[in-house]
C-alpha cells in the first residue's frame, strides 16, 4: 500500500527545519525541548511523557509535517491540527510597524497581529473594477465613517488593521449572529500578500480582468519561508459590552460599518467600537492541499457543545438560564445591524471537538500561558482542521475532505449538522465558488465580488 502523503512528507520535513531555523532567530526564549529533534518530541509526546509542542514561532509553516511512518486518518488529522495551531500562533504574532511579525517579542499581549495588516476584501474589489492600491496603502474608509474616529487609534504600532468591519451576514443569507448583549456579530475577510499579488498580477480584481483571464483562477505558487503561499482569514467579532471581560479577548478598535447594500431597508452607519475576536478561519493553499487547509478557531467562551456539560459560568452566545430558547435559530426578519437590541441567538456547537483536538488545545493553551501568563491567545481553541484526503482525486474535485463536516459556531451558526450538501463543509461549499464569469475561483468566494 502506498500512501499519498509519503512524498509530501519528505518535502515538508525539510520545510520544518527551515521554519525551526527561522524560529531560532526570532528572539523567542528557547524552551528546553528546543534541543530535541522534532521526531524525538513527537515520539515522547506520543508516549505521554512530555506534552511537547514545537516552540511558539512567528514563522507560518508551509505545509503539514507528517512524522508518522505509515499514518492513518487520525495521525494525519493530528498533523493537520498541529499545523493549524502553528499557523494560528504565527498569524496572530504581534506585528511590527511594517506589518511583518515583530521577531523581537513573543505572542501573548493583546497587540495588533500580523494578519490584521493584510488586505481586506473591501480594499481589493473596488467600484468600477479599479486596480487596488499597492500593498501597505490604505484606501479611505467609507464616506459615512469620516469624522467618526480612527480605527487604528489605539493600535499605535501599525499603519493598518482591519479597521472597517463591513459584514454582518453569514453565508447564503442563513442569518446574522446576535451576541448575548443583543448586538450583531461582524465579519471581515482578509488576504495575505501572496494572495493579493496573484489577484493583482492575474487582474482578477475586476469583472473585465476575470473575463480576459478566461480560465479558472489558481492561487498555486512556489512556497518559500518568505512567500508562504496564499492565505485567507475570515474573522468574526463581537462588540465588547460593559459586562464583557475584555482581558479575555483579543480586541481591536474598529470602525463598524453597516453596509446598506447588505440588507434591503438598512441605512449606512459607522461607529467606532472596541471589538473582541470570537472566531477565526485560517485558510492556506499548500502544496499537499490544493483544496487549501481549513483551520477554524473560536473563543473558548462562545458556546457549549451538544451533549457536553455547560462548564462555563457564562457564554458569548448562549444563555444558560434560557431553557425556552431554540438552539441555532436566526432572528426573524427584518435584519438590521443598526438595531439597538436584537434577541440574542442561542448557539450550541452541534459537532463537539474530538478528544485529540481538545488535548492539543490544552497543550497549546498551556504553552501560550507559559510564554505570557495573561496571554489572550490562550482563550482560543481549535475546533478542527479540514484537509483533503485525496488531493488529486479525479472523481472528486473537493478532495474528499476530512472531517466531512466542519463549522465554526460564529461563522456557520445555522448549518452545523451532518447532512450532505446542506451542512457546513469548508471544502465542499467553497468548491462551488466561481468568478463573475462563472469559472471556478480556486475555493474562494471573494472573486465574485469583483465589479
Amino acid at each position: 500500500m502506498t500512501h499519498r502523503y509519503r512524498r509530501s512528507l519528505m518535502l515538508s520535513a525539510s520545510i520544518a527545519l527551515i521554519a525551526l531555523g527561522g524560529c531560532a532567530d526570532s528572539g523567542v526564549k528557547p524552551e528546553p525541548h528546543d534541543k530535541l529533534t522534532r521526531a524525538d518530541i513527537r515520539a515522547q509526546a506520543a508516549d505521554g511523557k512530555l506534552a511537547a509542542l514545537p516552540p511558539l514561532s512567528w514563522q507560518i509553516p508551509l505545509d503539514v509535517d507528517v512524522t508518522q511512518g505509515n499514518p492513518n486518518l487520525q495521525d494525519l488529522q493530528d498533523d493537520f491540527d498541529l499545523l493549524s495551531w502553528q499557523t494560528f500562533v504565527a498569524v496572530n504574532w504581534p506585528a511590527a510597524a511594517d506589518g511583518n511579525p515583530n521577531t523581537g517579542t513573543t505572542i501573548g499581549a493583546d497587540l495588533p497581529t500580523v494578519w490584521e495588516n493584510w488586505k481586506e476584501s473591501r480594499e481589493v474589489f473596488l467600484p468600477g473594477g479599479a486596480a487596488p492600491p499597492a500593498w501597505g496603502t490604505d484606501p479611505p474608509p467609507p464616506e459615512v465613517c469620516k469624522g467618526v474616529g480612527d480605527g487604528t487609534l489605539n493600535l499605535t504600532q501599525v499603519g493598518k488593521t482591519p479597521n472597517v468591519l463591513d459584514e454582518s451576514a453569514e453565508p447564503f443569507e442563513t442569518g446574522p449572529l446576535i451576541d448575548q448583549n443583543g448586538q450583531y456579530v461582524r465579519f471581515a475577510i482578509m488576504m495575505n500578500q501572496d494572495m493579493f499579488n496573484r489577484i493583482v498580477s492575474d487582474r482578477l480584481y475586476s469583472k473585465a480582468g476575470q473575463a480576459a483571464f478566461n480560465k479558472p483562477a489558481d492561487f498555486t505558487q512556489k512556497q518559500t519561508p518568505s512567500n508562504v503561499g496564499a492565505i485567507m482569514i475570515k474573522s468574526s467579532w463581537k462588540v465588547m459590552g460593559a459586562n464583557d471581560d475584555r482581558s479575555r479577548f483579543h480586541t481591536i478598535k474598529a470602525l463598524v460599518y453597516t453596509n446598506p447594500g447588505e440588507h434591503e431597508g438598512v441605512s449606512a452607519s459607522c461607529k467606532l467600537q472596541t471589538m473582541g475576536l470570537v472566531g477565526l478561519h485560517i485558510v492556506h493553499k499548500t502544496k499537499s492541499a490544493p483544496q487549501w487547509v481549513w483551520s477554524t478557531f473560536e473563543h473558548v467562551d462562545n458556546a457549549p457543545s451538544l451533549g457536553e456539560p455547560q462548564s462555563k459560568t457564562s457564554y458569548n452566545f448562549f444563555n444558560k438560564r434560557c431553557t425556552a430558547c431554540l438552539a441555532n435559530e436566526p432572528p426573524p426578519r427584518p435584519w438590521n445591524p443598526n438595531a439597538s437590541y436584537t434577541q440574542p441567538t442561542q448557539v450550541v456547537r452541534e459537532i463537539p471537538l474530538t478528544d485529540r483536538t481538545k488535548n492539543l488545545n490544552t497543550q497549546y493553551q498551556a504553552s501560550l500561558r507559559s510564554a505570557n501568563a495573561n496571554s489572550v491567545w490562550a482563550n482560543y481553541e481549535l475546533i478542527s482542521t479540514q484537509w483533503p484526503t485525496q488531493a488529486h482525486n479525479p472523481i472528486d474535485p473537493s478532495g474528499t475532505p476530512a472531517p466531512t463536516f466542519l463549522a465554526n459556531a460564529t461563522l456557520e451558526t445555522y448549518i452545523q449538522g451532518k447532512t450532505p450538501q446542506g451542512s457546513s463543509s469548508c471544502m465542499g461549499c467553497h468548491n462551488n465558488a466561481t468568478m463573475t464569469n462563472g469559472m471556478t475561483s480556486d475555493f474562494t468566494y471573494l472573486l465574485q465580488r469583483a465589479q
Binding site: F172, E173, T174, G175, H263, E264, G265, N328, E329, P330, P332, R333, P334, W335, Y414, I415, G417, T419, P420, Q421, G422, S423, N432, A433, T434, M435, T436, N437, G438, Y445, Q448
Partner: protein, 658 residues
C-alpha cells in the same frame, strides 16, 4: 412570532406565501403598505439541512419527499400501504402527492377524494375518470421548492386559442393580454433571476411571429447568460433538424431557467441533477427568496401554521378571513382568529384557494361560496398532461448529469394544427430514466436479481417490434455481479434518453374541485376531485407525441424503450389511475406539476371568477393570484406567467389602495 397590528390596520391580507403571494407581499411592502400573510404551513427552515436529510433518507424520492408533513414512514407499513403514508384525515395540512396517484381510490391514503369510475366504462370512453397527476406543497415558500425552474413566456396565440383556432377560451383581450403582460414578464425574470440566451429565444419567437416589427427589445432580455447545455441536448440539436411535425421544422432551444448561471446572492448552479425535489444549494430560485425580501422590508408580517378556513363578507365586500392554528401536524388545533385588512389576496394555489372559497358558504346571500356567483369556482381544473418517451442512445451521452433539463423543442408550441389537436413543448430530460422507470434503481434491480422491469433483461420487444434485451449474448433474466455488472450498468446508464411532452389541456367545467364529506384533522373538508381528458383535441396530441418520439429516436439512431401501459382496469382493487385508450392505442399520462384553472379570469362575470385585473367580479376588495387564474394552460410551464401576473396584480392593488 406575535403579530403587531399597525395603527391604521393592515392594508392587505394575503393567504399563502408561495411565489405568487410572496411577490405581491414584497411589492406592497416595498411601497410602504402594511401586509399580513397567513401561511398554513411551517416557516422556511433555518437552512436546507432538515429538508435535505428527509430527502436523502426517503425511499421514494418524489417531488414532495423532502417537505412536511412527512409522507413516507409516517405510519407503520402494511401490505396496502407499503411506504407508510399517513391518513390525510390525521393531518392538519395534508396535500396531494404523486405517491397517492396509484392509491387514488384509497381514501385512507389519497387526500383528494375521487369517485370510482363508472361501472363497465370502456377504456376509450371520454367519460373515463382519472387520478389528477400533479401535486403541490403547503409550506412557506410554496410549491417552487420543488419546481424545475423552467421560465418560458407564453406565446400570443396561447392567449387567443378560441378566436384563432376555435378551441378552448381566449384570455381577456386575447393576444393583447400577451403584450400587456410583456413588461411584467421581463420583471418576473428579474425576480426569479432567469438565466437564458436572449438570441436563442428571439430566434424561437420569430418562428411564431411574436413581434410583427421583428424588433425584440429589453422586454425579451434576461438577467444572466444561458445555462450550459448538456451533451444530451447537443445530440438532439444535431439530429432533429431533419424532422418536421405538421410541417413545422424541429430545432432545439436552450431553456430559460430560474437558476444561477453566474454567482450572485445565491450560488452558481453546480448541476446537482435534483431541481425536483430540492436544489441542495439554492442555486435555483424558490419562493422563499422573495418571502425573505418581503419580510426584510419591515412592512410584511406572517402568521405560520395558520390555516385560512373561512372568508367573511359584509355585503359585497370581504370583511375578514378566519384561520385555525396548530402546533404539530397531527396535534389538535391551538386556536382560531380573524384577520382584517382593506384588501385581500388569495394565493393558496389552485386546489386550496377554490376550497377556501367554497368552504366560505355561510355569508348571507352567498350560499355557493365567496366569489362564486358564476358557479365557476373550482371548475376547469387543468394540467399540462405529459407523454413520456424514453430510449437508449447509440453512444454515451452521460445522463444523470447537470440540471434535470436544459433544453427543449419549442417549435411545435403553435401552428395551424391547433385547430385539430393540442400543442405541446418537448422537454429534453438530462436525468436518464429516473422519471420514466424510477432508475437507477430499476435497472440495478433487474441485473442484480434477474428481473425485467426495464425491458433490458428479458425477451421484451418495443412498440416497433425491435428486441430490447440489452446484451443479446446474455440469457434473458441474467443475474450479474462484478465486472460484468459494472460494464452492463455503465453502458446502459450513460445512454439513457428521456423526452417529455407538455400537452396543453382545454378547460372543462366538469373537471373540478369540490368539497368532500371527509375532513382533515382541523375539521376542514378534503377536496373532492373529478378529472377527465375528454377532448379529442388533447387526445390527438398524445397520438402525435408518440409518433414524433419514435421519429426523433430513429433520427438519433437510438433504440426506443417507451413501454406500452398495462390494460386499463376500471374496477376492482387496482383501478388504473392515469391510462386511457384512444384510436386503438393505449396511453399513460403524467402530471407536469402544473395545477391550472379553478378560479379563472374572463371577460364576463357569468362565466369567470376574476376580471383581467385578477379582481373578483363579486367582491371588489378581493384578488387572486397563481396559476388558478389561467383561463387555459397555454404552452409554457406556468411559473414565469404566475410571477408576471402576481407583479401585475400587485400594481392593480397598489392602484386601488391609492
Amino acid at each position: 412570532m406575535s403579530i403587531v397590528t399597525p395603527s391604521g390596520g393592515f392594508d392587505v391580507v394575503i393567504v399563502g406565501s408561495g411565489i405568487a403571494g410572496s411577490i405581491v407581499a414584497y411589492q406592497l411592502g416595498k411601497a410602504g403598505k402594511q401586509v399580513l400573510i397567513v401561511e398554513g404551513g411551517p416557516p422556511v427552515p433555518k437552512s436546507r439541512e432538515e429538508y435535505l436529510q428527509t430527502f436523502f433518507t426517503s425511499n421514494a424520492k418524489t417531488p414532495e419527499s423532502p417537505y412536511p408533513p412527512t409522507i413516507q414512514g409516517a405510519v407503520p407499513a402494511t401490505d396496502d400501504n407499503p411506504l407508510g403514508q399517513p391518513n390525510p384525515s390525521s393531518l392538519n395540512t395534508p396535500r396531494y402527492t404523486v405517491l397517492q396517484i396509484n392509491a387514488w381510490q384509497n381514501r385512507n391514503i389519497s387526500y383528494f377524494v375521487y369517485d370510482a369510475p363508472q361501472a363497465g366504462i370502456a377504456p376509450d370512453s371520454p367519460e373515463l375518470t382519472f387520478a389528477f397527476g400533479s401535486s403541490y406543497e403547503r409550506v412557506a415558500g410554496g410549491t417552487t421548492w420543488h419546481w424545475l425552474g423552467t421560465s418560458l413566456n407564453n406565446l400570443p396565440n396561447d392567449f387567443q386559442l378560441k378566436s384563432r383556432y376555435g378551441q378552448g377560451v381566449d384570455w381577456p383581450g386575447g393576444s393583447q393580454f400577451f403584450y400587456r403582460l410583456l413588461p411584467y414578464y421581463r420583471k418576473a425574470t428579474e425576480v426569479i433571476g432567469v438565466s437564458a440566451d436572449k438570441q436563442a429565444m428571439v430566434e424561437l419567437y420569430k418562428t411564431f411571429n411574436v413581434e410583427f416589427s421583428g424588433e425584440y427589445g429589453d422586454n425579451y432580455g434576461f438577467p444572466m447568460p444561458g445555462i450550459v447545455e448538456s451533451m444530451n441536448d447537443v445530440l438532439y440539436a444535431q439530429k432533429v433538424t431533419t424532422l418536421k411535425v405538421d410541417d413545422i421544422p424541429l430545432f432545439v432551444t436552450p431553456t430559460p431557467q430560474g437558476r444561477n448561471s453566474r454567482p450572485g446572492n445565491r450560488r452558481q448552479c453546480a448541476g446537482n441533477t435534483n431541481c425536483i425535489p430540492i436544489c441542495p444549494i439554492q442555486a435555483k430560485y424558490d419562493g422563499s427568496v422573495t418571502l425573505a425580501q418581503a419580510l426584510q422590508t419591515g412592512n410584511v408580517q406572517i402568521l405560520y401554521k395558520a390555516v385560512a378556513s373561512n372568508i367573511r363578507l359584509n355585503g359585497n365586500q370581504v370583511s375578514g378571513i378566519d384561520y385555525i392554528t396548530y402546533d404539530s401536524q397531527t396535534g389538535p388545533s391551538t386556536g382560531t382568529g380573524t384577520v382584517t385588512a382593506k384588501r385581500y389576496v388569495l394565493a393558496a394555489h389552485a386546489i386550496e384557494t377554490p376550497k377556501l372559497l367554497l368552504m366560505s358558504k355561510n355569508n348571507p346571500g352567498w350560499p355557493n361560496g365567496v366569489a362564486n356567483s358564476s358557479g365557476q369556482v373550482g371548475r376547469n381544473l387543468m394540467d399540462h398532461v405529459m407523454y413520456l418517451a424514453w430510449g437508449l442512445a447509440k453512444d454515451p451521452i452521460y445522463a444523470f448529469r447537470g440540471p434535470l433539463s436544459t433544453a427543449g423543442i419549442e417549435a411545435a408550441r403553435d401552428g395551424a394544427f391547433r385547430s385539430q389537436r393540442a400543442a405541446y413543448r418537448i422537454e429534453i430530460g438530462n436525468e436518464g430514466w429516473n422519471w420514466a422507470t424510477n432508475d437507477p434503481n430499476t435497472t440495478l434491480s433487474d441485473f442484480i436479481f434477474g428481473q425485467n422491469n426495464t425491458q433490458l433483461n428479458g425477451d421484451s420487444l418495443n412498440q416497433q417490434s425491435q428486441p430490447l434485451r440489452f446484451d443479446p449474448t446474455l440469457p434473458a433474466f441474467s443475474k450479474l455481479f462484478g465486472t460484468r455488472l459494472v460494464n452492463a450498468l455503465n453502458a446502459i446508464y450513460v445512454r439513457q434518453l428521456r423526452l417529455g411532452y407538455l400537452i396543453e389541456q382545454l378547460p372543462d367545467p366538469d373537471n373540478r374541485v369540490q368539497l368532500s364529506s371527509l375532513t382533515d384533522n382541523l375539521g376542514l373538508p378534503r377536496p373532492a376531485v373529478t378529472y377527465r381528458i375528454r377532448d379529442d383535441y388533447v387526445r390527438n396530441a398524445f397520438v402525435s407525441a408518440k409518433q414524433v418520439s419514435t421519429q426523433i429516436f430513429n433520427a438519433l439512431g437510438a433504440k426506443e424503450y417507451t413501454q406500452l401501459p398495462a390494460a386499463v382496469q376500471s374496477s376492482g382493487d387496482t383501478v388504473t389511475p392515469t391510462t386511457f385508450e384512444y384510436k386503438g392505442d393505449r396511453f399513460t399520462f403524467y402530471g407536469a406539476g402544473h395545477i391550472i384553472g379553478t378560479y379563472r379570469m374572463g371577460t364576463a362575470p357569468r362565466d369567470s371568477v376574476l376580471n383581467r385585473r385578477q379582481q373578483s367580479w363579486d367582491h371588489s376588495n378581493l384578488y387572486m393570484v397563481g396559476s388558478g387564474v389561467f383561463p387555459s394552460t397555454a404552452t409554457a410551464n406556468p411559473t414565469l406567467t404566475i410571477a408576471a401576473l402576481a407583479l401585475q396584480a400587485a400594481d392593480n392593488i397598489l392602484h386601488d389602495l391609492g
